[in-house]
């Protein structure tokens, strides 16, 4: 064993300026910053550089285990998994507290008991950001120790099953939560959201286990949701500024209307007084048409500056709902209307929105409009005409038709009409984009 100790004599410190080591004595937080720009593997390898560098990596605030940070070259799945588990074990044991962020997102990792063990380890510390992405296999059931990580500020889960224990009382410091492809009970979900008092951002994509969303989060600012649901209700979300909702199914929500309710459109906006950006995606506009669709909302959305609607121009209900929204957004600056592709090519509905519905309604702030996926329907042209006539400060409108075989004639007609429309704004540019 003594033969192994080959000590290399350190270089005689050179007096030339060029040879001086300037990096090792930088303050710890700067070294952390430098190392945090490296993959975990490179960062840990710095421990081989010199005696001063031996333990510089163990104060790394972020630990990211993904396909970039751990290189295991092998075809054998078991071998990869074992190596990975080993590396995570080693890093966790050698690292010194506190770990600020822990991200595990390696595509080959499926070992359930190992992840349980690591979460238990983290729950004893003070981890602030936790990201777990399970790329393969069934939904991973999170161990109960995750629910005791009370220092969490950001939680991100992909392909997980959440089942909080009965003693779970919410995450008191959680500000942002991102759940995608998760399974959870309705009650558990509602309770979790409502018992995170500081929650500001909520992202929810592809969920099962619940179909009625009741979001009670007084500090919520950002809400992004896409999935299959029957109803979505906001309670006390008076700060909510950015909302994007996509309903991926065409059915299932009509029957949910209770007697005497004002209709989905009004209910939806009743709790969103401060909304600034709204994206209505997939079939959500259809959901909003359930119930009464008024000419205008009872209270206008004074702060709404960006609106994006996925709409079926053939559907008169949806067109009316869109009009209602437009009329209730006097301060709109940017508008997108995107036609839902598969329904456009359906039978042209004879019923059209009556011309008087397009009564004058000034859009004093509207600058940019984007219309896409149109195919020359009367309805579409009416909308464009309406917008052009009522937008005195319009700068740019881009129109992009849908690609259609032999539709060139129709598109020519479309362009001719467009040129003819009256424009309220002298600066308005109408840009025609190729399909």
């Amino acid at each position: 064993m003594s033969s192994m100790k080959q000590r290399e004599l350190p270089k005689v410190p050179c007096k030339l300026e060029m040879e001086v080591d300037k990096i090792s004595n930088l303050p710890g937080h700067i070294i952390d910053k430098i190392l945090s720009h490296l993959s975990l593997r490179d960062a840990v390898r710095t421990s081989l550089l010199s005696s001063k560098w031996r333990y510089k990596w163990i104060t790394l605030p972020h630990l990211v285990f993904d396909n970039q940070s751990v290189l295991v070259s092998s075809q054998d799945q078991t071998l990869i998994k074992n190596k990975l588990v080993n590396i995570v074990d080693h890093v966790l044991l050698l690292h010194s507290e506190p770990i600020q962020k822990f991200k595990l997102s390696h595509r080959d990792l499926q070992g359930v008991s190992d992840i349980d063990r690591w979460i238990l380890f983290l729950s004893r510390g003070s981890v602030k950001e936790f990201v777990l992405e399970i790329w393969k296999g069934h939904r991973y059931k999170l161990p109960s120790s995750i629910y005791s990580c009370q220092n969490l500020i950001h939680l991100e889960l992909f392909n997980c099953l959440l089942k909080p224990p009965p003693t779970f009382d919410g995450f008191k410091n959680l500000k942002s939560i991102d759940l995608q492809h998760i399974t959870m009970d309705q009650d558990a979900f509602e309770y979790m959201i409502s018992s995170c008092p500081l929650l500001e951002r909520l992202t929810l994509m592809n969920f099962d286990g619940f179909t009625n969303l009741n979001i009670h989060a007084p500090k919520l600012l950002f809400f992004d949701m896409g999935g299959v649901f029957e109803s979505v209700n906001f309670q006390d979300t008076f700060q909510l500024a950015v909302v994007s909702i996509g309903l991926y199914t065409n059915t299932g929500f009509e029957c949910n209307l209770t007697f005497g309710s004002a209709g989905n459109l009004i209910e939806f906006f009743a709790h969103l007084p401060r909304i600034q950006r709204l994206e209505v995606q997939s079939y959500f506009l259809k959901y909003l048409t359930t119930g009464k669709v008024p000419g205008r909302l009872p209270t206008p959305c004074m702060e709404l500056s960006f609106l994006s609607l996925r709409i079926n121009f053939n559907d008169i209900e949806e067109s009316l709902a869109a009009l209602c929204l437009l009329r209730s957004s006097p301060n709109l600056q940017e508008l997108e209307m995107l036609a839902r592709p598969e329904e456009q090519s359906a039978v042209r509905a004879p019923a059209n929105v009556a011309d008087e519905d397009y009564e004058n309604c000034p859009f004093n702030q509207l600058r940019f409009v984007k219309i896409a996926g149109i195919s020359g329907l009367r309805q579409e042209l009416n909308f464009i005409k309406f917008l052009l006539a009522n937008s005195p400060v319009l700068e740019k409108m881009s129109v992009k038709p849908i690609a259609m075989d032999g539709g060139w004639e129709l598109l020519k007609e479309l362009m001719k009409e467009l040129l003819r429309f009256r424009r309220a704004s002298v600066q308005a540019q109408i840009i025609y984009l190729d399909p």
């Binding site: 010199s50 590396i87 080693h90 359930v112 069934h138």
Partner: protein, 371 residues
């Protein structure tokens, strides 16, 4: 009064200037709007400094005049509000093209002036220099001394650190090694089980009493172990059989033996202190093979206790294994640990599969997924 002076001196300039002093004592006059881009200077200004030559803002020692001029160039460009992101980015790319020594100094200076965007920029540049390079290359670039011993380079776990977590790791390794050795011995002992089981209680008692003449402590502990051992084969026969029948690789047993000897060598390299800790924690019921205890040769059951004494052959074997292990350690350290730990996992998986239906299903599913 000072302000009035300044305005008289430069009536044609609409800008106001502030005075900065670097660590070497030299003074500089800088446009205020540029300088206040640095939070440090901004704060100092608010507390009244820098307005005249006699009361300049003293910059931290890490800011040399050369670095200050670089930093001011940066501030001068970025404080102009109208620039596009593209312009800023392209300026940044050109700005950080300098040798590593200056880059380090610049990082340090920017940090002391709390100029976070510049610190981010330079840190990222330094990271890019480290990324993907071998340790030799990195040492070359940054002029780092190569002062780690070969041993230290290979051992990611430093034994002299009195870190309870590392001691726990050592204990875990030792326990695994012990378990592996147990398996080995149990397999060897099975053949001799017949005679062991047929001892009568009287025989045992006489053996116990007769052994008192020798070192008492040693004997009693050995007896404890013996009793345990006798219980163990009965309890573990089923699982043992399972294990041997389930070991898929033909070299399974041989590999295990090698592993256990490999783990022996780990114990060799530990401090005596760590070893003593291990002993106290594992209880005196099982002695580690490295302890040179000799037992009375007239104990007829010594033959079965292969691990209690180190006969010369064993010692030689251990020495050979240490060297072998050292050589293997020169290759990938994580690989070694992965083999050792995965062995433990496999065994656990097979054992629990037989005892708990729930986990059997779970593991079966995992297996399926791995396909």
């Amino acid at each position: 009064m000072a302000e009035a002076d300044r305005e008289i001196i430069k009536p044609e300039m609409m800008k106001s200037y502030i005075w900065l002093q670097t660590s070497d004592g030299s003074l500089q006059q800088v446009e205020q709007e540029v300088a206040v881009f640095c939070p440090f200077i901004c704060h100092e200004m608010h507390s009244g400094m820098g307005s005249s030559k006699t009361y300049p803002i003293s910059l931290p020692s890490r800011v040399s005049p050369a670095m200050l001029s670089l930093i001011l160039d940066y501030c001068r460009f970025h404080q102009v509000p109208g620039r596009s992101n593209k312009e800023r980015k392209s300026f940044d790319e050109k700005f950080i093209r300098m040798d590593t020594k200056r880059l380090c100094e610049l990082t340090s200076a920017a940090d002391s002036l709390q100029l976070k965007p510049l610190v981010d920029l330079t840190s990222r540049a330094l990271a890019r220099m480290i990324e993907g390079k071998t340790p030799e290359e990195i040492r070359d670039i940054f002029h780092l001394p190569d002062d780690l011993t070969e041993e230290e380079k290979l051992e990611p776990i430093k034994n002299t650190i009195d870190d309870p977590r590392i001691r726990l790791l050592n204990r875990l390794y030792a326990r695994k090694r012990k378990e592996l050795k147990e398996r080995e011995r149990l397999k060897n002992v099975e053949a001799e089980e017949e005679c062991v089981d047929e001892r009568s209680v009287e025989d045992l008692l006489s053996f116990i009493n007769g052994g008192d003449a020798d070192s008492k402590g040693v004997k009693t502990s050995k007896n404890k172990k013996k009793n345990r051992r006798r219980k163990d084969p009965q309890k573990n026969t089923s699982s043992n059989d399972t294990w041997t029948s389930n070991s898929t690789s033909s070299s399974g047993n041989a590999a295990d033996k090698k592993e256990s000897n490999g783990l022996d060598s780990i114990c060799h390299e530990h401090d005596a202190a760590a070893r003593d800790d291990l002993l106290s924690n594992l209880g005196k019921s099982l002695k580690l093979p490295n302890i040179d205890d000799s037992f009375a040769p007239d104990d007829e059951f010594d033959a079965g206790d292969l691990d209690d004494d180190i006969d010369p052959a064993m010692k030689e074997k251990i020495d050979r294994e240490v060297e072998d292990f050292a050589r293997r350690l020169n290759s990938d350290w994580p690989d070694r640990m992965q083999e050792i730990l995965s062995l433990g996992q496999e065994r656990k998986r097979i054992l629990t599969a037989n005892t708990c239906n729930g986990s059997l299903r779970r593991y079966a599913r995992l297996d399926q997924q791995q396909k």
